[in-house]
Subunit: 336 residues, 2 copies
């Protein structure tokens, strides 16, 4: 059921390669009803590691990258040519793109951005894009915050976690944030965390004994972190699982001690993916209406770490090791 | 966090003792505002094992039985004397009672039964009582059944599981039931399970490969069973945890392989206890209105296994080993 995955981090230049051998004729390449984009920014996210495992078979197989083919992920670009009358040259679009300087793609999944709030385009890969939606959709749908309750947010300085901290503080929650460096701890405090700690130098059991118990745990980590949370969560607590970064690298088998508390303490544990259709149905419009405006006003802070396209492999390793400060974004072309 | 518990089964005559040394004067014993009951039936349930662990300390300590004192659990009795004008001699009551032939107890937690449906009194410890409520409350609140979906119900021949099978079939679900003997498999089929299997003689992975995937898993078992369910459940599946009988006896630490699917498949895992106040608020009236009538009509079948009071220790071991056929009920006095 649970295939053995290649353990460890990707190796830039070896398992992830910047390939300069391909070319494209921008004037003549056939569009087949789609569009030609000049790519501006591409997103680097931890879940991409999960598409780099051993090939899986059968009905439970997770989508995998294809060996020898470009990676893909959410990105932004400017339309250069178009076979679809809904998209005109000059339009700025968001979509799931191949990691290439110029992309020919179907227009089916593309979203045209009007950016009425006049925020930097790259924010649409960050607080105004998928990570912001992950935080906002999951927070609204599952956290069911009650003022004064305590939430522990993991990877609290990251693209999703930092938005969560701010949403939780706006609702009057007491926020405990965790991350892997002193610099990230400082950032979590700056954006409002009541308690912020470096999980690499902190005994988390002791910390939660003092600062807990918690009512809500937002998990991006899995394994030991999830198990500790299960030990320090109040009756009727809620656990939201939006990632399992420790498992992406090191496998998902783990000897949990505290799972029994799901029953014992009447907990709810919810996993979700930002692409689950119900979430966008429930919260998509509210997100598009509220979040870019909050960003423009400075009421929702976020950080970006931009990396040149040719260092994509290094950027991915940084994200998987938690070394990035702010949302990791590849700059393919600033002048899209 | 997770204390080591004494492993293994209780030993009748040694760790559970039928004590005949106590006596009571029915005419003069002071009631202190409460009532004197002649106890008729007492319930034996798996969760009682969980109150027989090593003493725990601190804020997470689960309630434990006190060494040298009577066990307690849900039971029935007839009022003999009363200091409370709401309870009269002759009233039949349900409550949380000490395991004694005669009990002096506060009337605060007692419920007077009128039994308008004229079902056997003992049913109020079974389908019309706590096990029935566990099935009904949990089913209505968390299963959110959609016709045609597949549910796997563990301990499907038990007091809770057998009611669940029948509720699920009434809603048009496809039901897979599991239990630990051929006799129980036959009973599950008799009450409507589409697929019924003996987990002791079945490769569950293979069975679910053929009969699954499942949409809903109702867990009374934990550990390997829960992990297998996590491997065979569809996207957006629901897992309801209402017990963890394998953990009661053998500890709760287990190396889960498939927990990652909570996130990967957008699952919801909910633990609950029948005593959680919201459940009775939502479903208590509907249960009292519907279930005794369904039982009286024969539309909701249940089985009871009655044991004389002096063999209480053996009855508990039978329940923990899954040897009982039907709800385990101690007969203290049929003529209450």
């Amino acid at each position: 059921m649970s295939p053995t995955r290649n353990a460890g981090y990707p190796e830039p230049g070896k398992t992830t390669v910047y390939d300069t051998t391909r070319s494209i004729d921008l004037d003549t390449v056939p569009l087949n009803g789609g569009v030609l984009l000049k790519v501006t920014y591409l997103s680097i996210d931890p879940y991409m590691r999960n598409k780099m495992g051993a090939p899986q078979e059968g009905k439970w197989a997770a989508p995998q990258f294809t060996l020898g083919q470009p990676l893909d992920n959410f990105g932004l670009g400017r339309v250069i040519r178009s076979d679809d009358s809904n998209f005109k040259p000059g339009d700025y679009v968001y979509g799931f793109l191949k990691f290439e300087e110029y992309v020919v793609t179907s227009s089916a999944g593309l979203e045209k951005l009007d950016n009425q709030a006049h925020i930097p385009w790259s924010a649409y890969l960050s607080a105004a894009g998928m990570p912001g939606q992950t935080a906002y959709f999951g927070y609204k749908e599952f956290v069911k915050a009650k003022k004064g309750q305590t939430i522990w947010i993991t990877t609290g300085a990251g693209a999703v976690g930092s938005i969560l901290i701010q949403l939780a503080k706006r609702d009057g929650l007491r926020v405990i944030g965790s991350a892997g460096s002193e610099e990230k701890v400082a950032f979590m405090k700056e954006i409002g965390a009541d308690v912020a700690f470096n999980y690499k130098t902190t005994n988390i059991d002791d910390l939660l004994e003092k600062e807990g118990p918690i009512d809500i745990y937002w998990d991006h980590v899995g394994r030991e972190s999830l198990d500790i949370a299960l030990g320090h969560i109040n009756k009727y607590g809620r656990i939201i699982i939006a990632g399992a970064i420790s498992g992406y690298n090191f496998g998902h088998t783990y000897a949990y001690q505290n799972l029994f508390n799901i029953d014992q303490r009447s907990l709810t544990v919810t996993g979700f993916n930002v692409t689950d259709p119900e979430l966008a149905e429930h919260w998509g419009e509210a997100f598009a209406r509220e979040v870019p405006v909050l960003i423009a006003r400075g009421d929702l802070k976020h950080r970006e770490e931009k990396t040149p396209f040719e260092l994509a492999g290094d950027a991915l390793v940084r994200v998987l090791k938690g070394q990035n400060t702010g949302k990791s974004i590849l700059v393919v072309s600033e002048s899209g």
